[in-house]
Symmetry: none
Subunit: 423 residues, 2 copies
Amino acid sequence: MRAEVVAVGTELVLGQVVDTNSAWIGEQLAMSGIDCNFQTRVGDNIDRIASALRLALGRNEAVIVCGGLGPTQDDVTREAIASVMNVPLCRDATVLQIVRERFVPRGPTRTMPANNERQADVPEGATVIPQTMGTAPGLICPVGDKVMYALPGVPYEMQDMMRRAVLPDLERRSGQVAVIRSRTLRTWGLSESGLAELVAPRVEALEDGGPGVPTIAFLASGVEGIKLRLTVKAADRDSADKALDAEEAELRILVGDSVFGVDDETMEHVVGGLLLERGWTLGIAESLTGGLLAARVVGVPGASEWFRGAVVAYDAAVKQSVLGVPEGPVVTRDAAVAMAEGARRVLHADVGLATTGVAGPTEQEGRRVGTVVVGLALPGSVSEAVEFRLPGERERVRQLATISAFNLLRRRLSAADGEAQGP
Amino acid sequence: MRAEVVAVGTELVLGQVVDTNSAWIGEQLAMSGIDCNFQTRVGDNIDRIASALRLALGRNEAVIVCGGLGPTQDDVTREAIASVMNVPLCRDATVLQIVRERFVPRGPTRTMPANNERQADVPEGATVIPQTMGTAPGLICPVGDKVMYALPGVPYEMQDMMRRAVLPDLERRSGQVAVIRSRTLRTWGLSESGLAELVAPRVEALEDGGPGVPTIAFLASGVEGIKLRLTVKAADRDSADKALDAEEAELRILVGDSVFGVDDETMEHVVGGLLLERGWTLGIAESLTGGLLAARVVGVPGASEWFRGAVVAYDAAVKQSVLGVPEGPVVTRDAAVAMAEGARRVLHADVGLATTGVAGPTEQEGRRVGTVVVGLALPGSVSEAVEFRLPGERERVRQLATISAFNLLRRRLSAADGEAQGP
């Protein structure tokens, strides 16, 4: 089965917005074993959208069109689809009701603009994919034995409808008997070439592959480290998962505890789990990371069970007055330890984690840009500080410092039952 | 003149790599006054590439094909172009010489793989765009009175050839004397449809357009609000900018101070500028936003001149012990005011800004998910708190709360010289 993605929006062809939706959809199609040979972007113009849809329907069994379902006069995807289907648009009473209910006036006098009602227009013969978040519903539009799906351009709405309605419908239509499953091992602290050398024996062992044998891909993911993506095609989900389990075990032997998580597990999820196991709470003191650690922590579901809070001591005087750091230079191991202990004390936490350093653009206290010191105060241990030299400009140094701090805490908590390890 | 971008690469249609090249090329074409109505992505397959090129040549005067010029067996763009031109490929001696010279062996025994020589293959009748950085040259391939340009997929090589050879050639062919300029007005606090209604008079007034008359587009930018993009085509840069100035002034009358910035200006940049004007420093207290305000503030260049720090009081006890919030419920106006005043006092700042509220997933203190209270303590004013009802799930509520807090501070600082305004 072949599907084409048609992304609609003048902002896309003018390069004002990078079309990440098509890439995401292409990936999902590949995972479902559906071929995607072409992707098209077209501006907000009924005739050109219709011509792109006709072409795509001619060379594929399915077309996913994304964008142009909003309330403004620019949004003409509905009209283009109706023209390709050669049917009229009808205003759907159920959708209209939902559009109206979803419109939350932000002031006492605001009523719903009439334009919004256009979002309830549905081509005759199409099925609505109910919206759960935004206001525009998606559409499933049969054309003979082929099908067009219309999805909103807002990424999280599109992804939700794709998972909930489009992929299941495509899989049903394709009668696909093989499944493709994948698993991502997230690593931190190794270079891409270093990681490639470690796992080379497995890449060679799997080389001539075939059904049931996983493939390994490397995805450099910037400040999130490097991911190892295992993908396998098998007759059913169970045997696919068994093959992934076996390969994951082999890789973990080679890569060791540089693997910090699996699939969507972030460093802070892992840290939260380790803290919960011990019943410990966390307090944070941040200088150069300026709130990034705290912001990531509160993104972890249930963080309130183990996260007390943070002090962002951007100004040196705040380090002294709030955290009790002694006067003097602040990009030092002593200052990092004092910050970690200060966070633990002020925030009444069991564990104190602190960052200080030089994000740039210029050096500070004679220390080079990229110098970062992480302080850590754990129950029952002597407090410590570890110094890192991180590459890149200001924002990158900050992001890398954030993950480096979590990673230090992760390694110390993982090692807490055994022997202490180096960072 | 119309040009289409054809991006070649199986990794693009599989979503392993996001196609940023097409967006960049689209933007350059727009700036040169060349229409780009379609963009196509196609996998590494001679027949499908050739079919995409034929289609693109049929509906445009020029086609820019990007990628598939490398040395591996996958790289078949040259062959597809030769097939569309209906000419043979000839190995170009000059290019071959350069390819050989550019090949730097990485070990003592490495010689150039024979595959690399394929990069010297040129369709008969095509002109070479010499490579200055990588190893694959670009191509200018005339087809009757139309033209195809082939560029490498590596972004910096592509951009170099585009600037050096393609854009000048396209401009010469189009005889274009016009420039296209655009400007973005960033708004906050209005729905897309509400904004559309406000600016409808201008959209209508500009409708029949033409050279020198700007067009207006709406770009919903999620938690960053909605952007109004003005674009104008004019004889020269000066008259384009004058037309944009005039239209910006008209729109500001209609939209008022919901416009918070222009082009790349973020809300926190604007707030920083307003604080600097007054010589005031900022201290932040965050509950549900958990560090997001602070993390955005430290991203503003020069923030250390006006930002003192933040207290992330995620746990209620921290609000009391560090910020001096009285015991009792914390999602209230009183708590928000106490947090703002606490931040000002503890962080020795002139201005205190605080957030408290319910991010979800469940209600808290009987308050619904999405309830957010922003507290503000300004020099010489009575401290205040404003309550918001924000839509969406946990992460979205947090992001919206962050911008809402900055926006309240922006409005109060903007109004500080005049009369106080409602939020």
